[in-house]
Amino acid sequence: MTATSAPARSKVAARGSVPAARRRRRLPFSPWHLVLVPATLVLLFPFAWLLITSVETPAEALHFPPVLTPHVLRFANYPDALASAPFGRFFTNSAIVAVATVLSNLVLCSLAGYAFARFRFLGRTALFAVIMATLMVPFQVTMIPQFIITKWLGVHVLAAVGIDHIGALILPNAATAFGIFFLRQFFRTLPLEYEESARVDGASRLTVLIRIVLPLATPALATLAALTFLDSWNNFLWPLIAITSTNQMTLPLGLATFQGAHSTEWTLLMAGNVMSLVPMLAIFFLAQRYFIRSVAATGLAGT
C-alpha cells in the first residue's frame, strides 16, 4: 500500500525531510567504509599473501610464525619456477585454446543461432529441442563418451584433435548449446525491417547476417566472447582427462601438475601461481567492463 501510493509525492518530500533526519550525527566519511575496508582486506589478503610468499626465501616460507614482511625480495623464485615447469608453454596453450574456442563459437553459434531465429527448415524444432536438452545435462554425464570419441577421432581421423593434443580441448567446445541459444534469443529481438530490405536489394542470407545482423548484435557477441573465454581459460576437468603430456597442458592443468610435483616448495609454487594468475587478471582488468556486463547479463537474463 505505502509503496504504491507514495511515488507521486516522493520527489517533493524526499528532498526536504529524509536527509535532514539523517544529518544529525555524521561521520566525516560514509559509515559504509567501516564495513567495506575490512571486507576488502579479507578479499585481497589471499592475493597479498600469494605475492609475499612468491618472493620469500624457502626458509622464510617454512617458518612459524610466518614472516609477513620478507627481509629480502627473492625474485629468483620466478626463474626457478620457470626452470621446473614451462609456464610460458602452458600460457600459450591456454591462449590458443581460449582464442580458438571463442572465435569458432562466435562463427558457428552466429550461423546456427541466426538460422534458428529466422529460417524455417525441416527439423528445425526437433534440432533445437535436442540442443536445448544438451544444455541441461552436466558435463560429468557426457565426459566418458566424449573421452572415448576423442580418443577414436585421434586414432582414426586426425591426431591433432585426439587425446593428448590441445585440439582435443578446442573441438568439443567449438560450438556450444549455450552460445546458440543465447544468440538466437538476441537475434529474435532485432527488427526485421533491415534484413528484409537488404534481401529485397538482392543480398544473400549470409551477407545479411554478416553485414546487417552481426553489427547490430555486437553487445551479445561481446558477452558470448567474454563468457566463453572465461570458461575455456578456467576449464580443468576436461583437460585433466584429455591431456597427459606437459607440452600440451593448459595453465590450470600445468599448475595442478606442478603443485603435485612441488607440493612443499611453497615459494616456487606461489611464483608459478602468480605467473598463472597475472595474465588473466590483466585481461580481466583491461576488459573489466565487458566481463562484468556479461556476467551481469546472464543473471538478468535468468531473472
Binding site: T2, A3, P7, S10, A13, W32, H33, L36, A39, T40, L43, P46, F47, W49, L50, L62, F64, P66, A112, A115, F119, R120, F121, L122, L127, V130, A133, F139, Q140, V141, T142, M143, I144, P145, I149, T176, L192, R199, L206, F236, L240, L251, P252, L253, L255, Q259, W266, M270, N273, S276, L277, F284, Q288, I292, V295, A296, G299, L300, G302, T303
Partner: protein, 310 residues
C-alpha cells in the same frame, strides 16, 4: 517464410515472398550443420551412450561390455563411499550456496552507493572472478597449512590452538566451503549489484517518507525486488556446488579418510583411475537426477517467494 508472413501481415508489398522455401531449407541446414555436428557428436550422442553404459559392465580391461541391467545402480546403494559422497555433496551445497549468497548480497548492498574508493572496493570483489579454481585452491592450501599457514598464526594471536584444517577429517570440507565462497564472491556481487541497480529509487524514498527505517525498507522492498536475482544465484550456485571437483582434486584428493569425497570426485575416480566406465556412468546419471530434482524444488519453492515486476 517467417519473413514473408510478417511483411504480408504488415500490408507491405512482399517482394520477399517469392523467395522459395527451398532456398531457406538449404540455407537453414547449411547454417546449422557445423554446430549441430559438434554438439551432436560431443553433447547429444554421449548422453545416450553414457545412459547405455550405465546398464553395462564396461571397463578398459575387458573387451566385452555385457548388459547387466540395473546392477550398477544397485551397486551404488550398497557402496558406502557413494553414500558418504552424497552426504558430503549435500553438506557442502547447503553451506556454500547460502554462504555465497549472503556474502554477495551483503557486499553488493554495501557497494551499491557512490562513495569514495567505491571502484577500489568493487574491483577487489570482481578480482576473485579472474582466479581459476586451481589458483584459488593452491593459495588456500597455503593459507590453511597446518604447520606454516598464516591462518593458524592469526588464530594463535587470539588464543586458538593450531588447527589441522585440510588434514582433519572433521574440518577439511569446511575449509573447501570457505575457499569456494571466496572464489565465487565476485560473481555473486556482480549479479546482486546489477539487480540492485534495477531497484527504483522512488520506491525506497517513498518507504522512507512513510516512516520505514533502513532495515525495514531493505526487508520489505529491496529484498523482494531482488528475489529473481536470488533465485538465479541459488539455482546457478547449486548446480555448480553439486559438481564440485577442482578444489577437492587439488587440495585433498577426497581425503582425509574420504572426508571430502564428493560425488563428482568419486565419479572421476571410478571413471579415470579405476576405469569402471559403466559404474561411473551410473553415478553420473544419479548426479544428473539429483541436479534436476533440486532445481525443480528450488523453482517450486521460489514460486511462492519470487516477485517479478512487470
Amino acid at each position: 517464410m517467417t519473413v514473408s508472413h510478417i511483411s504480408a501481415r504488415r500490408g507491405r508489398p512482399g517482394d520477399v515472398r517469392r523467395k522459395v522455401a527451398d532456398s531457406e531449407q538449404f540455407t537453414g541446414w547449411a547454417f546449422v550443420t557445423p554446430a549441430v555436428v559438434i554438439i551432436g557428436l560431443f553433447g547429444a550422442a554421449p548422453i545416450v551412450w553414457s545412459a547405455l553404459m550405465s546398464f553395462q559392465r564396461s571397463n578398459l580391461l575387458s573387451p566385452s561390455t555385457p548388459f547387466i541391467g540395473l546392477a550398477n545402480y544397485r551397486q551404488m546403494v550398497h557402496d558406502p563411499v557413494v553414500v558418504q559422497a552424497i552426504q558430503h555433496t549435500l553438506i557442502y551445497t547447503a553451506l556454500f550456496v547460502p554462504g555465497t549468497m549472503i556474502v554477495g548480497l551483503f557486499l553488493a548492498v554495501a557497494m551499491n552507493r557512490k562513495i569514495r574508493f567505491i571502484s577500489v572496493y568493487r574491483t577487489a570483489a570482481y578480482a576473485t572472478m579472474a582466479v581459476s579454481t586451481i589458483s584459488e585452491a593452491i593459495v588456500f592450501i597455503w593459507l590453511f597449512d597446518p604447520s606454516y599457514g598464516v591462518v593458524n598464526y592469526f588464530l594463535s594471536r587470539i588464543g586458538v590452538p593450531p588447527q589441522q584444517f585440510l588434514n582433519s577429517p572433521s574440518q577439511a570440507l569446511y575449509v573447501i566451503v570457505l575457499m569456494t565462497i571466496w572464489g565465487w564472491t565476485g560473481f555473486a556481487v556482480v549479479i546482486y549489484l546489477a539487480a540492485l541497480q534495477g531497484v527504483p529509487q522512488t520506491l525506497l524514498e517513498a518507504a522512507a517518507i512513510d516512516g520505514a527505517g533502513p532495515w525495514r525498507t531493505f526487508r520489505r522492498i529491496t529484498l523482494p525486488l531482488l528475489s529473481p536475482a536470488s533465485l538465479f544465484l541459488a539455482v546457478w550456485l547449486t548446480i555448480n556446488a553439486l559438481q564440485l571437483f577442482d578444489e577437492v582434486y587439488l587440495s585433498t584428493q577426497g581425503g582425509p579418510l574420504n572426508a571430502t569425497t564428493v560425488l563428482v570426485y568419486y565419479l572421476y575416480n571410478q571413471a579415470f583411475q579405476q576405469f569402471n566406465f559403466g559404474y561411473a556412468s551410473a553415478i553420473a546419471y544419479f548426479l544428473f537426477l539429483v541436479i534436476i530434482v533440486i532445481t525443480v524444488i528450488q523453482f517450486r519453492v521460489a514460486r511462492r517467494f519470487t516477485y517479478y515486476r512487470s
